[in-house]
Amino acid sequence: MSKTSRLAKALSKTSIIVVASLVVVAVVAVVVYNFMSAPQVTPTTTPTTTPTTTPTQSQVLISGAGATFLAPQMLEWARSFTEIKGIRVEYQSVGSGAGRDMFFNKVVHFAGSDPPLSKELYSRYRGEVMQIPVVVGSVAIIYNLPNLPEGTTLCLSGEVIALIYKGEIRYWNDERILAINPGLKDVLPSEEIVAVHRSDSSGTTSVFTTYLNKAAPDTWTNDLVGLTVDWPVDRVGRGVGGKGNEGVTQVVKTTPYSIGYVELSYAITQRLPTAAIKNLEGVCVKPTEETIKSALINAVGELPQSPLDDWSDALYRMMNTRGSNSYPIVSFSYIFVYKKYADAQLVQALKEFIRWILTDGQKRMVPGYLPLPSEVASIGLKAVELLEVG
């Protein structure tokens, strides 16, 4: 009896303390919020251009999330755009998949993605979501051949790479490799080829396998294309996985007679030796800004002509294009935006942002990232006109 009443008393006091502490928490939170948000910090330099659009620009925030590959370039663009136009842009590098999820749940305003929307997703969001290519990507083939003399370049064809990754070409001095590299007959060793691939789900793998599928459809069949692949070469014990571009690079660097594929920007910043690839016209071409641009200009006719179109097979279409100076493996990274946003200021800001990254922004490329040819940029620029309030 006395115990229960004491308990009741104790509980009532406890509840007073609970309420009191909750009140304290709330009050402190409100004070902190008001105090901290009052001195709104504007970025380092004030906008030098006169505000031609809305006077309350600084209130608008554009947020994006997605592909890690796109992140360094996006961070650069976001900072420059914030400084020049006074509209703050933030981008978080969470991966293409997570970025899309945030975009479709309307947690962020735009998504960055390496692959375009799949056919299925496209039909679900047809007319609602616009896909805009913003940077060019490419995949480089890297190799470790210790006895290859300085200055010589290995050349490979899609067919040969496909056979290596299928495990059917086993030695470096295989006659199918020698046939493309007549100058290297005495240098290519009779050593087993170790084929290094990504162990994680990766857009790079998707680009690489799409190329193999297009260049050698009979050898590299449709079921071997995707973000992750059941590598045939693993089954014969000559395949090795590496996590991320850095993982693949590490394995190739430390394993003599190995071959691997990485994002071109990574190969450039890390100064890795890259193989030339035999293009559609039979010329061995190394990945450079020039050869990739040539490939894209030849591919423009094959590409969808509007951001509202289905881009799902754009990757396949732009692989292995014509042009004697075209590097055959190219891809885009995209941003996804909605066609309609409720907030008029946001629409205005997004229009400016998209226009800026496709024009002036293309002159502010981070090393390793390639600007879009103006023919491709103009497809994306149509999105600026299409964006509307609604």
């Binding site: 402190v28 919020y33 948000s37 900072r79 978080q92 910043t269």
Partner: protein, 284 residues
């Protein structure tokens, strides 16, 4: 007799050597981490000075190292908010569970907290993302704080319960014999006796929240172009920034990450030292 003595001594020496070697193995990585962080991060901090704490982070084309202001402010605030949320809950739960250990509600509390401590922090992040973030329509410092609060709650709770359990039974009986009920005993006796160890628990929870990355991955967002945007807006955190910057291929990004690592380490060691000093001061 004599022989067995020596063999005992020999065995003793061998075991001592093994123990020293094992503890050395254990401590070496820690020392190496601290050394590398001080060496690499120190160079950055010396070069930039205090600006490292007040500038915006660099971009790949930046020529300077910049600073970590958004991350630092975000971390300080988010951890503080998280502690503000967990402390009252953990305090009341710990008090209740130690005072009424056999009560069924206490058992429920115990089980729930233990279950919480086993949840991977990335799951907490996803949970807050799918509830708070999606309903708010944006990631925010508040969402990050909530995720941190869930992750730190078990720690705070454990610190507090061990504090309450350290109260000598004689003190408790003395308080009761003076006619105090449990709440009065808490206010007038326990809190006074335990203030240092409670404060230690608070500090350690704060440190724990400060260093955590995974709960913030989907909840906090990423803030690069403003120092602070508001509690309901995206923010940044020191470990989050280290994570993103260390994975990039750019030299200046790596330097910032090292500098940020050293700052994190300094904050951690400072708070840790303070809490140790507090513990030493506890007298019963």
């Amino acid at each position: 007799m004599y022989r067995s003595m020596t063999s005992r001594k020999v065995r003793n020496y061998i075991m001592v050597i093994v123990m020293v070697a094992v503890s050395f193995l254990y401590v070496t990585p820690l020392i190496s981490i601290i050394y590398t962080a001080v060496e690499r991060g120190g160079a950055v901090l010396v070069e930039t000075g205090l600006k490292f704490l007040t500038d915006l982070p660099p971009t790949p084309l930046s020529t300077s190292v910049g600073g970590i202001a958004p991350a630092l402010i975000g971390s300080l605030l988010a951890s503080a908010l998280a502690i503000l949320i967990t402390t009252p809950i953990a305090f009341l739960m710990a008090f209740y569970v130690t005072e009424f250990p056999r009560h069924s509600l206490s058992r429920v509390c115990e089980v729930v907290v233990r279950a919480f401590s086993g949840v991977p922090s990335i799951v907490v992040s996803m949970f807050i993302y799918s509830t708070v973030v999606m309903s708010m329509g944006t990631q925010s410092l508040l969402a990050g704080s909530l995720a941190l609060a869930i992750v730190t709650l078990p720690y705070t709770y454990v610190y507090f319960t061990s504090a309450f359990r350290s109260i000598p039974e004689s003190l408790r009986e003395a308080a009761m014999s003076l006619g105090m009920n449990r709440v009065r005993a808490l206010i007038h006796v326990y809190v006074g006796v335990l203030r240092r160890s409670l404060l230690t628990g608070l500090l350690m929870s704060y440190v724990r929240a400060f260093g955590d990355t995974a709960p913030l991955l989907f909840t906090m967002g990423f803030l690069m172009n403003a120092v602070f945007a508001g509690v309901l807006q995206q923010s940044n955190a020191v470990p989050l920034m280290i994570f993103v910057y260390a994975l990039s291929p750019y030299e200046n990004f790596h330097r910032v990450a090292w500098g940020a690592t050293l700052v994190l380490l300094i904050i951690y060691l400072a708070l840790f030292t303070v809490s140790r000093v507090l513990v030493r001061g506890v007298k019963l």
